[in-house]
């Protein structure tokens, strides 16, 4: 059976996800992802006519909290796992493009 996904797509998804895959992994994941897609394909056999799409798998909604402040970790604990720090900041490789910011 033909693969649902080819190596070009796997490389692209890996790049988008900032994953550095070896050639062997590209091959391996192409097969694996194709198998997963085949499995998901089975769902299409179901008749979903007239069924509302589900936004969440739990049948609940409106889980809120009140707008109250709880003490944060503090700078030291926050930085405890940082691979690198610079004073009170995380230190990361220089960001080259301008795409950051929400």
């Amino acid at each position: 059976m033909a693969n649902k996904i080819d190596e070009v797509q796997v490389r692209r998804v890996a790049r988008l996800s900032r994953l550095d895959l070896t050639e062997a992994e590209v091959e391996e994941f192409t097969d694996q992802l194709s198998a997963i897609l085949d499995y998901v394909e089975k769902m299409n056999e179901l008749d979903t006519e007239g069924i509302e799409p589900l936004a969440h798998c739990l049948p609940i909604s409106n889980v809120f909290r009140d707008d109250c402040i709880v003490e944060s970790l503090g700078t030291e604990k926050t930085l405890a796992n940082a691979p690198q720090r610079d004073g009170e900041f995380f230190k990361v490789p220089k960001i080259l493009d301008e795409g950051s910011g929400a």
């Binding site: 402040i69 970790l73 009170e88 960001i95 301008e98 929400a102």
Partner: protein, 487 residues
């Protein structure tokens, strides 16, 4: 010679920071200027196993803005993940809303310089979390501060209904007034509470044919001035570029530009080809929100008279100038103070003068709002009525206002203490007028003789009376007496 005409088309994306105490999905404080990375928890850090929980206040604030913008508020809304690969949002995605935003299809009316208003369509408004801050240092690395990570942001997207830099600015300032009136954002530009991204292009008519220039989006503008100037700059740049290259809008030739505030130019930003491949998918960690009619009604009940409505009411009902009405409605606290003074029975025009010419001036000097000057609306209403009754002159009312702020005393007490009560007793003033006339026969002759000198001489006599009464005579009464005597 070729005939070129063009029309400017601008749509705007606005991010407004909501003024909740805590963040959108965790209980860390939203606090500007705190020590770096001190308002951060495992949720902000995107640690494995953590779960975000929605801040009810942020959701209600967002819906309230949606209502104020006349949006349709769906009874069902949900959350999505948007892929994001910068270190200022460490979990590598941003929680946002994709296909089911909490508000859609509204409009916002902006005041036009030419008078009147214009409705700008609102496509949608949705909630999302802010990223932290990347600080670019001189070295070969960046610093990251995650304090801002997870701050509730309301993103509002307009239709491309604006046709000039001035209109874009008007929309931005109007939105600022609205969110401040609603009390959902401080909308402090200096603190980055409002950020703008205009999408600009031109429809050019050249020799009877119509062309559309490629759309440019300018990123991350955080002042009204930069917003307006960048739009105006972009209009000129696109026109020049079109005339030079003839390039028109096509699929995929939209560009992103940054604004250089010092050089006042927009600069093309290099972006990775896949930068906009956000790969949204439903956020499995958050359940949807379902509004009930009761809950929506409860939120709706918090809507107040919006600033532009108030401004137009002041013009129509109180006959204030549009400018004055705009000044009074620039801030909610001023407008509410004005409303209260007027409710106390003072004449609106008089109150407007007192507040805009004296109250706001003092408040500005003190760096506070008018309701924090230590004077009460009743006190100002009283002062306004004293001016109306000619008990004090309108110039004296300025000094009284100033001393009211300094001392906290009432206007009546101060008018007496400062000897500012006007003498309106016609009998007493008539004696003084007679005395002045007797002392200045030359001036009297000039007045009665008519001609060039008459007006000046009359002014001199009036001045003499004012001097004799140390400025306390009611000039109107004195003037009437002079008319009678010199006729």
């Amino acid at each position: 010679m070729t005939n070129v005409q063009y029309k400017v088309i601008v749509g705007l994306e606005i991010h407004v920071q909501l003024c909740t105490k805590s963040k959108m999905f965790c209980s860390c404080a939203v606090e500007f200027g705190a020590a770096p990375n001190s308002r951060v928890c495992p949720v902000c850090l995107g640690m494995p196993g953590v779960l975000p929980v929605m801040n009810r206040q942020a959701f209600e604030y967002a819906v309230l803005v949606g209502l104020a913008l006349d949006c349709r508020i769906p009874m069902f809304t949900k959350w999505d993940r948007k892929s994001y690969y910068y270190p200022d949002l460490p979990k590598n995605y941003q929680i946002s809303q994709y296909d089911l935003p909490l508000a859609a299809n509204g409009f916002l009316e902006i005041p036009l310089e030419s008078g009147g208003g214009k409705k700008i369509g609102i496509i949608r408004a949705h909630l999302e979390e802010d990223a932290g801050k990347n600080l670019h240092t001189a070295g070969n690395f960046s610093q990251v501060d995650l304090n801002r990570t997870g701050t509730p942001l309301l993103e509002i997207v307009t239709e491309p209904d604006m046709n000039s830099g001035a209109e874009v600015r008007a929309l931005a300032t109007e939105l600022q007034r609205i969110v401040r009136f609603l009390g959902v954002s401080e909308a402090d530009m200096q603190k980055g509470h409002m950020r703008f991204e205009p999408n600009i292009n031109l429809i050019i008519t050249k020799d009877g044919a119509e062309y559309r220039t490629p759309i440019a989006e300018i990123k991350n503008l955080n002042s009204f001035r930069a917003l307006e100037r960048s739009v105006n700059y972009e209009v000129r740049r696109q026109l020049d570029e079109f005339l030079e290259t003839g390039q028109v809008m096509e699929m995929g030739n939209k560009t992103t530009r940054g604004w250089d505030d010092e050089q006042e130019v927009s600069v093309l930003q290099r972006e990775k080809e896949e930068a906009h491949d956000y790969r949204y998918f439903p956020e499995p960690d958050l359940v949807p929100v379902e509004l009930t009619p009761e809950w929506l009604q409860q939120i709706r009940s918090r809507l107040c008279e919006l600033p532009l409505q108030k401004q137009m009411r002041y013009v129509e009902q109180y006959k204030l100038s549009d400018y004055d009405a705009g000044v009074l409605t620039a801030e909610l606290s001023t407008a509410e103070f004005f409303d209260e003074v007027v409710r106390d029975g003072a004449e609106p025009k008089r109150v407007c003068n007192l507040l805009t010419q004296t109250g706001l001036k003092i408040a500005n000097e003190k760096g506070c709002t008018i309701n924090n000057l230590g004077v009460t609306p009743e006190g100002i209403a009283h002062l306004a009525r004293m001016v109306e009754a000619d008990t004090v002159s309108s110039s004296s009312s300025v000094s009284i206002f100033e001393v009211m702020v300094e001392t906290g005393k009432g206007p009546e007490v101060l008018a007496e203490e400062l000897n500012l009560i006007q003498k309106s007793d016609a009998g007493e003033l008539e004696r003084i007028v007679d005395q002045v006339l007797a002392e200045n026969p030359g001036a009297v002759e000039d007045v009665t003789g008519g001609g060039k000198k008459s007006k000046k001489a009359r002014g001199f006599l009036l001045g003499q009376v004012m001097q004799k009464t140390r400025g306390q005579a009611n000039p109107k009464v004195v003037s009437d007496i002079l008319d009678k005597k010199l006729d």
